[in-house]
Structures are given as C-alpha cells and as structure tokens.
Amino acid sequence: MDIPLSWYLTLAAGLFSIGLFGCLTRRNAIGILMGVELMLNAVNINLVAFGRYITPEAVAGQVFAVFVITLAAAEAAVGLALIISIYRTYDSIDMEDINLLKW
C-alpha cells in the first residue's frame, strides 16, 4: 500500500487521454479501434484500483473488470468484423473516405 491511489488515477487518466487522442485522429479504422481498447484498459485500471483501495474486502472491482474485459473482447470482435465488411465494400478502411451514412 505504499503506492498512493492518485498514482494509479494519473496513469489511468494518461492512458485514457492517449486512447482518446488515437480514437479522434487515426485515419485507419483499426487504429481507432485500438484507441478504444486503450480507453477500456484505462477504465479497468481505475475499477481495480478503486476496488483495492476503497473496498478491499469485496472483489467487486475485479468482477467488474472481468465483465469489462468480456465486453471489450466482444466489441473488438464485432467492430473488426464490421471493418472487414466495410473493406470488402469500399476497398479501403480510411475513415476520411467513409463519410456517408447511407448510400
């Protein structure tokens, strides 16, 4: 317990911001998805850190982290399937080219 809670929060905030930056600025759709994964990891660090420091006797933080990991993996699976499908239709996954909601 000699690491203060705020250190973990700083790390998570940094990771989340970098993920957000990648998400907003990458042109490649897979790059955007990787940004989202980074953000989810930052969230998980926060969940586990709060669980460890504020309610150490319960494992709620870890249970939630497990569910977030489940969610992140399923999100990656469906998201990448969509990207592959888009690539097949447009022959590109550059998000600058894909700007129509409906054709």
Binding site: T70, A73, A76, A77, A81, I84
Partner: protein
C-alpha cells in the same frame, strides 16, 4: 504475494537476455558479406512475384473470432472450478446454462459452415 511476482520480473529479464546475449555474440563471430542476390527475398530461387501482402481469406478471422469468445468462457470457468467445492449443485446448473448458451454459438458456426476450411 508480491515477492513471487518479483521473481517473475527478474526471471523474465534473464529470459529476455538469453536471445539478446546469444545474438550479440553471434553478431561478433559471424562473417558479414552481404550480396545483392543473397539479400533478395527467398522464393525458391525465383524472382519475387506480385505484392507481398497477399489477400488472406476471411476464414482466418472467423477462427480467431470463435477463439476469442471461447477464451473468455474459460476466464469464467477457472474461478468457478476453483470455488466449486464450496458452491455445490446450484453452481453446476448455472455453469451448465452458461456453457449451453455458448454451445448454441458453436453449433451455429458449425451448421453455417463457418468452421469449414475452404
């Protein structure tokens, strides 16, 4: 608890140093005579033909996809198995439902030939 993981940290550092050390020694010992033909991409002696990034089929992705889903299933299975002796029959029923729902997914992939390597 952290003591054990400190060992893992030291161990991974030493494990990583094996290939680095080996390759550095080999770098000092080996001859260096690069040549135009020698450094070409190896394709059974023929000139490289077409693009390197060939288009792979989507089948690879489908396998990885089913793998990810079942990998997560095992994440839920391990705590269940460890705590099983304390939990009893009700836990078995819960896990049975959990697996049954996922087996539906496997059967779906099977029936629609998503598992077929073509």
């Amino acid at each position: 608890m952290l003591r054990d993981y400190a060992f893992i940290l030291i161990f991974s550092a030493i494990a990583l140093s094996v290939p680095i050390l080996g390759l550095s020694i080999a770098w000092l010992l080996r001859p260096k005579k690069p040549g135009k033909i020698k450094n070409a991409t190896y394709e059974c002696g023929l000139e490289t033909f077409g693009e390197t990034w060939v288009q792979f089929k989507v089948q690879y992705y489908i396998y990885a996809l089913i793998f990810v889903i079942f990998d997560i299933e095992t994440v839920f299975l391990y705590p269940w198995a460890v705590a099983y002796n304390k939990l009893g029959l009700f836990a078995l029923v819960e896990m049975f439902i959990f697996i049954a729902i996922l087996v539906v997914g496997l059967l779906y992939a099977w029936r629609t030939d998503a598992l077929e390597w073509v």
